[in-house]
């Protein structure tokens, strides 16, 4: 029994690191977008489209990192679209997000039809297996470089929001658009840039899905990771460092199903697969209140009004 427990624990640790990476990228991107005062619910579509483009480009070029870059660029295009549409009067960022979510996944399935069969070169993990002699841990310590890039990105974003002009302007725009306008800052431009970067990161998150874990392209690749990342940002209180912790937690929850299956518990497999969704919902319920506004929420965010 204790063996099984260890196996599950190790598998969940490995899973947390593996599964958390797309969460991390999407939520960092969404943090920046929301800090500027917009919410982009379309990141789910961006993620799926990013996954498709990464896989396709990796297959065509033979280099998975070119695929990652392509996914980021494709994601930026979706970010740009969102940023551009939402500047128009009377257009709701939430509704545009849903529309882009449908459109992004549709487009990915449309173009991705031909890439379900072929095998694209995948991203290689960095092997930290030399740190241990335990064979299970050896496998768990195969960590993808994107995970470390995500960690570094979180620290950089946290620092930049407090210590750079760009960071201060993004926070100002997200908290009080009128002030930014009075200061001659183009609110639309700042949000456009923030949403574009957010789209880029979500695209990279998608690349991780198709090029590393699970590591193939099909239409059921994402089960709402892009959407959950949006909720995760609320849970992280718009703090990039907290995003890392939250992403790991969600990753562990996502790894629960496969981890239990690996030790032969397949009863209720589908429920364990829904664990991240249930966890997200539970956290949302726990961290919201009808009596007080969300602490640390950017003042211009439509979701907190």
């Amino acid at each position: 029994m204790s063996d099984a427990l260890t196996t599950v624990a190790v598998a969940m640790f490995a899973g947390a690191v593996r599964v958390s990476t797309p969460f991390l990228f999407v939520s960092l991107g969404e943090t920046l977008t929301e800090k500027s005062g917009r919410i982009n619910l379309g990141l789910e579509g961006t993620l799926v489209f990013g996954a498709m483009s990464a896989y396709a480009v990796s297959y065509l070029s033979g280099n998975p990192w070119v695929g990652v870059l392509a996914a980021g660029l494709a994601g930026s295009v979706f970010g740009m679209a969102h940023g551009f549409f939402c500047r128009l009067p009377k257009v709701s960022d939430i509704a545009i997000g849903i529309a882009l979510m449908l459109f992004g996944s549709g487009l990915a399935f449309f173009f991705g039809k031909g890439f379900i069969q072929p095998t694209a070169p995948r991203l290689q993990a960095i092997d930290f297996g030399f740190l241990t002699s335990d064979p299970q841990l050896k496998v768990a310590l195969q960590i993808n470089p994107l995970f470390f890039i995500g960690l570094a990105l979180a620290v950089v974003m946290w620092w930049a929001l407090a210590n750079t002009r760009f960071g201060l302007i993004v926070r100002m725009t997200g908290d009080s658009a009128a002030t930014a306008k009075a200061m001659g800052v183009s609110v639309d431009l700042v949000r456009f840039v923030a949403t574009t970067i957010g789209g880029f990161l979500a695209g990279v998150g998608g690349a991780f899905l198709s090029l590393y874990y699970p590591g193939s392209w099909n239409e059921g690749l994402s089960s709402g990771q892009g959407l959950m990342a949006v909720a995760l940002v609320i849970f992280s209180r718009w703090n990039p460092l907290m995003c890392v912790a939250a992403a790991l937690l969600f990753g562990a929850a996502g790894a629960l199903g496969p981890a239990l299956q690996s030790v032969g518990i397949s009863q209720g497999y589908h429920f364990f697969n829904a664990a991240p969704h249930i966890l997200t919902l539970a956290i949302l319920i726990a961290s919201s209140s009808s009596k007080r506004s969300l602490e640390g929420a950017p003042g211009e965010l439509s979701i907190t009004k």
């Binding site: 009377k90 849903i98 529309a99 449908l102 909720a231 589908h270 829904a274 969704h277 997200t280 949302l284």
Partner: protein
């Protein structure tokens, strides 16, 4: 079966409304999450407890049996769901414009602060409206099973819910305009197979088209004035 479908739908989305009221959880995010949870539950039953041994390739439940199926409208190749939908649309229109419940719900939706200041039971109204909406989505699922598939399986997860949101937007939230718009989109979806065969395009073309239409509608809000015949009652 009909009642169970409506009740399940009502409970599912009523819960979303209750969360919105009690904990200020954004309904868009919570209902999308509830969608994934619902799909997981469906898969659990379809591949587990209720799985029919007769269908080895595609996991499905045991068929409900043809004697329990709902038939077609005589003279047409359409099942009774369409007629019921039209009746429901008219009922929804009457409910929203001609009853105190509809009026109070519109006040709550239009300005929740004003609704509170009028002493309206905002929470109950929100939950009730969400539950009604969920019930009608549940009924849609009922007709899919009882009139088309005859059993439940993964092909129920075909994005009808998302298309439904789109239909509602295109109808500008006017129940009377819903049936024609819904028929239009149903036609579009049904054409998916045809597009695939005739023009050699992937069937995701339909999804791309729907996404484009949705975007266009949302953006038209800013470009044009409102389309007069689609205006809700009393605003013409």
């Amino acid at each position: 079966m009909f009642v169970a479908a409506a009740a399940a739908g009502a409970a599912w989305i009523g819960f979303v409304g209750a969360l919105r009221h009690a904990r200020a959880v954004n309904e868009t995010i919570s209902s999308l999450l509830m969608f994934y949870i619902a799909v997981a539950i469906l898969n659990f039953f379809v591949e587990g407890a209720l799985r029919s041994p007769a269908d080895p390739n595609k996991p499905s439940t045991t068929p409900i049996g043809s004697e329990n199926m709902i038939g077609v409208i005589p003279g047409l190749e359409v099942h009774w769901g369409l007629a019921f939908g039209v009746v429901l649309a008219i009922a929804a229109h009457v409910l929203m414009t001609r009853t105190t419940f509809g009026f109070a719900a519109r006040v709550t939706g239009g300005n929740v602060r004003a609704a509170r200041a009028q002493g309206l039971p905002v929470g109950k109204l929100m939950v009730a409206a969400c539950a009604l909406a969920g019930a009608s989505a549940g009924i849609a699922g009922f007709f899919e099973v009882a009139a088309i598939l005859g059993k439940a399986n993964a092909s129920l997860v075909a994005g009808y819910g998302f298309t439904g949101i789109l239909v509602s937007f295109l109808a500008r939230h006017n129940p009377i305009a819903i049936p024609p718009v819904a028929v239009l989109f149903g036609g579009l979806a049904a054409a998916g197979g045809l597009i695939q065969r005739r023009m050699g395009l992937p069937d995701a073309t339909v999804q791309v088209l729907q996404g484009l239409i949705f975007l266009t509608i949302l953006l038209s809000e800013t470009a044009y004035g409102r389309i007069p015949f689609l205006e809700p009652e009393g605003r013409r």
